[in-house]
Structure formats: C-alpha cells, structure tokens
C-alpha cells in the first residue's frame, strides 16, 4: 500500500471547510483540493441514481461574454449553433483549435442576446479565457468570472423535490438544458437543469459568500430524500456509466468531436468557426479512430491509459475505465481504429502485463428512464 499526502499549495473552493467538517477524503484534483468521497463512492453513486446527491463543483470555471457582438464571438469560438439558443437555454459545445481538437468542452448559456454565460472545466479555465480573448475580434467583452460563483450540483430523481424546498422558483417548469435566474435559500441564483451524471437534476450558481450556507441548506432539505454529499469519485463513475466525455480522456487538444462521437455538437452549416475547416476535411475523409465502449469479460479492471489489443495487436488505449457501481461490471471507454471500434468485438486490455478479455459494447452503459 502506498499512500499519497496532498501538497499544501492547492486551490480551494469556498466550501473547502464544509467538506472537511463532513469528513471528506480530499485529493489534489488538477491543482484543486477537492473531496473525492465522503461516505464511499459506491454509496454516493447509488444515492444519485436512486435518490439525490449534492456535489461541490465550484472548481469549474465561468466566463461571461457581453456586448452587441457577444453572439458573434460565441459562434466564432464554439462548434455548436449558439444562434439557435433562446434566452434561458443552454447547450453543450466545443471550444476548438484550428486543427479541430478541443481547447475545452463547455456549456453555453444564453442569458440574453447580448450576454452569454460559459461553464468550463476547472483545469482549463484560464487557458479558455485567454483563448477566447485572443479570438475576440468583435465588439464583445470577455470576463473571467470564476470567482463570482459557487457552483453546486443537485443530482438524482429526488433532486427536484430537494431543491424545491429551498426556492420559490418553479423548478418543474424548467426544461432539461434550460435555466432561470431566481433565488435559492434567499440568495440570487442561476438555476440550470443540467448535470454530469446522466440523471435529472440541477446545477446552481450562487454568490461565494452564500455558498456554505446554501450547501448546508441543500443537505438539510434533502434529508428525507436520502441525500448524500458526493465527491469527484462518484462524479466520475456516474458520468462514465452515461458515457459522457471527460477532458484529457475522451477529448483533448488532439482529439476531435467526430472522434469522440460528439458530431452532434458540430454544426458545419452554421457558418465559419474556429476548427471548421479541419472538421469539414475530417468528415469528408471519414474518421480513422473513435471512442468505443467496452466491458471486461475476464477478471480485471481496465483503467485509464491501459493498452487495448484487437486481433492480437496493440491498437489503442483506455480513455476512462472503472467498475460500474450500478451495473456491477467493469466498464470503460477506449480509443480504437474505426474498424476495431464496432460493437460486439472481442478485444483485450493489457492489465499488469497480462491481456484480459473484454468486448466492445454500445454506449451509454446506463440511460435513465424518462
């Protein structure tokens, strides 16, 4: 057993003390001192699938774009069609380099025609901000707004019931991937019906000084719904069961949306945007590799970075692999040449110098009943 002691100079969210009070196990997550688990990844995972869980996701970044040409800038730097968003609507999108690889994957919220709110990955936020500023040839203002928000995710089939106890905002009328500006526990909040768990739920953005009070209020409000505070461990297993991409794993600066099965966030006909030319070319030629799902058949867990063999040859790598707490199988995503990525094919994962049988399978591994 080797143990790891986290370094001291990590970034902290305003909820750091609250996590420690709850007895969370803290880890260094890309330079952030974050809770990986409280009661245990499996219990937390199942709370979200069956009841409700609450996550501190304040390490995520926010970038706000304002001005008469805010939309023109957003359209120019993202791959999805931001022009089709209405006030109060959000979508998943790609912030791309000219080569079609990802600067980051982001959520774009349209607050108003001249005001867009971007939610971006923790480890990429400064890079994203610099990138968007460098691409700003428009009459628009780009604000690095991460310090203005605590972001809390309330996820699971009971999430609506839990959050409803803390707000007069009519949550049931907020549709999936829409949001509203309202209040939570008396504090101003952006309340979005979004998430990264494959479950129904909400992500709220509240003032940092109100963060700990609201976090505690959510835990209290969800008591009868079986709420558990959830860490990044469960966040990862939940998103993996739902086959949602994680930056640095399924997507990166050298992996394009098409290769990550994310063609639906690429709108080639919307007009020019950064990365479009490369994607037009890739679409014409067809992708040579792509992300595929796999399940272990032999005994072992295919983990991130392990090599994947097909037809006896080293053909790719595991991008994310883990036991699935809900399905009680060992699952994962991997990058393979298109010919090997078809469903139902035998592959092998190299686990500690031993090739263990697996099979490519359809994704997502889990889909909630609507």
């Amino acid at each position: 057993m080797e143990s790891v002691t986290p370094a001291a100079s990590l970034e902290k969210t305003p909820l750091n003390a609250a996590h420690r009070k709850l007895g969370a196990r803290m880890v260094d997550f890309g330079g952030w001192d974050m809770p990986v688990e409280y009661s245990g990844i499996i219990a937390e995972h199942l709370a979200v699938r069956r009841g409700v869980g609450v996550f501190d996701v304040s390490h995520m970044g926010e970038i706000e774009i304002r001005g008469p040409q805010a939309l023109a800038l957003v359209e120019s730097v993202t791959s999805n069609a931001a022009a089709s968003l209405k006030d109060g609507q959000a979508h998943y999108s790609g912030l791309l380099y000219p080569n079609g690889g990802f600067v980051d994957d982001i959520l774009v919220h349209r607050i108003a025609a001249n005001h867009y709110f971007l939610c971006v990955n923790a480890g990429n936020q400064r890079k994203d901000h610099e990138w968007i500023v460098s691409q700003n040839h428009f009459d628009a203002e780009v604000e690095y707004a991460s310090e203005k928000y605590v972001q809390i995710a309330i996820q699971g089939p009971r999430g609506l019931a839990t959050l409803s106890r803390l707000t007069r905002t009519d949550l049931a009328s907020i549709r999936y991937y829409w949001f509203r500006r309202g209040e939570v526990s008396g504090a101003p909040a952006i309340i979005a019906r979004t998430g990264y768990t494959g479950e129904d739920g909400f992500e709220i953005y509240v003032p940092p000084e109100e963060g700990e009070r609201i976090w505690n209020a959510v835990l209290e409000a969800g008591k009868d719904d079986g709420i558990l505070p959830c860490g990044l461990g469960a966040r990862n297993t939940l998103r993996l069961e739902s086959a949602m991409a994680l930056y640095g794993h399924e997507i990166s600066e050298s992996i394009t949306p098409y290769e990550a099965n994310l063609g639906w966030i690429v709108k080639l006909d919307k007009g020019d945007f950064v990365g479009r030319d490369a994607l037009v070319q890739q679409k014409k030629e067809g992708v040579k590799r792509r992300i595929a799902g796999f399940e272990m058949r032999g005994r072992g867990i295919g983990r991130d970075g392990y090599r994947v063999f097909a037809g006896g040859e080293d053909r790719g790598w595991v991008t994310s692999g883990s036991p699935s707490p809900l399905l009680q199988k060992n699952i994962g995503l991997c990058m393979l040449p298109v010919a090997d990525a078809a469903e139902g094919r035998p592959v092998e994962i190299l686990i500690r110098e031993r090739r263990v049988e697996a099979e490519t399978v359809p994704t997502p591994f889990y889909q909630r009943k609507k």
Partner: protein
C-alpha cells in the same frame, strides 16, 4: 483499533506471527485510504514471497495499489472469499479480510517491523506532513 500482537509496515500491511507461520493483511488506515475495495489479486499457493516486495494487487473503485509482504515466506493459504466479497477488506481488514498465510523463512525479519504503537505514531506523523 490496531491489535497489539500484530506487526506493521510503513506501507500499511500487518502480519500476525504464530510459530513459523504469518497471517498477512492490510491495515484499517489502508482500507480507509483506498475507499470501496472492488478487486483483489492474490498470489498462488506455493508462491515464494520476499519481504517488502509486491505480491498482489488491490483495487478500489478509484485506485490500484500494490500489496507488499511484511516478511519472506511461502504462501500456504489464500483468502479465496475475498474474490467474491472484496468489501470484506473494508469491513474487517484486521480479521476476516486477511490476505495470505505464509510459512515464514526468516522469523527474525519481524524485528524490523513496527509495533502497534509505533505504527500509530507513524500514521500521526504522516497526517501532519
């Protein structure tokens, strides 16, 4: 918490020496650090283990860790029940969650290991750093 009659390593394993046999497991601190244990890979009976060399693997949902043997010896028994119920390692790391039984090749090796008090002092010093 940490049985007095056990000896401990700084890699968070314990051994209970009884005559020329030793029962080996991981400590409560180890299981707590790992989180939910989901997979255990143990050596075969008859395998010869060297003190402080890796003899198997333990995996939680999140992490993979090597297992190190506190002392040298030949594996005479393995805890098969862990294959189907690896969570036993979380519930009962010091008793039911034992990993292997060894026929010890050098009993004097136990002198280099930590007592329960020394191990707990080591844990305290680790959490301060």
């Amino acid at each position: 918490m940490y049985p007095k009659e056990y000896r401990y390593t700084k890699k968070h394993e314990w051994i209970l020496v009884d005559g020329d046999t030793g029962l080996v497991g991981i400590t409560d601190h180890a299981q707590e650090q790992l989180g939910d244990v989901v997979y255990v890979e143990l050596p075969k009976i008859g395998a010869k283990l060297q003190a402080m060399q890796s003899f198997g693997t333990i995996e939680s949902v999140k992490a993979v860790s090597d297992l190190y043997s506190p002392m040298s010896g030949e594996v005479t028994e393995i805890n098969d029940a862990l294959v189907d119920a690896p969570e036993t390692l979380n519930k009962s790391p010091h008793t039911e969650g034992w990993l292997v039984r060894l026929k010890l090749s050098d009993k004097s090796e136990s002198e280099k290991l930590l007592s329960a008090d020394e191990y707990q002092q080591f844990l305290a010093s680790e959490s301060e750093s």
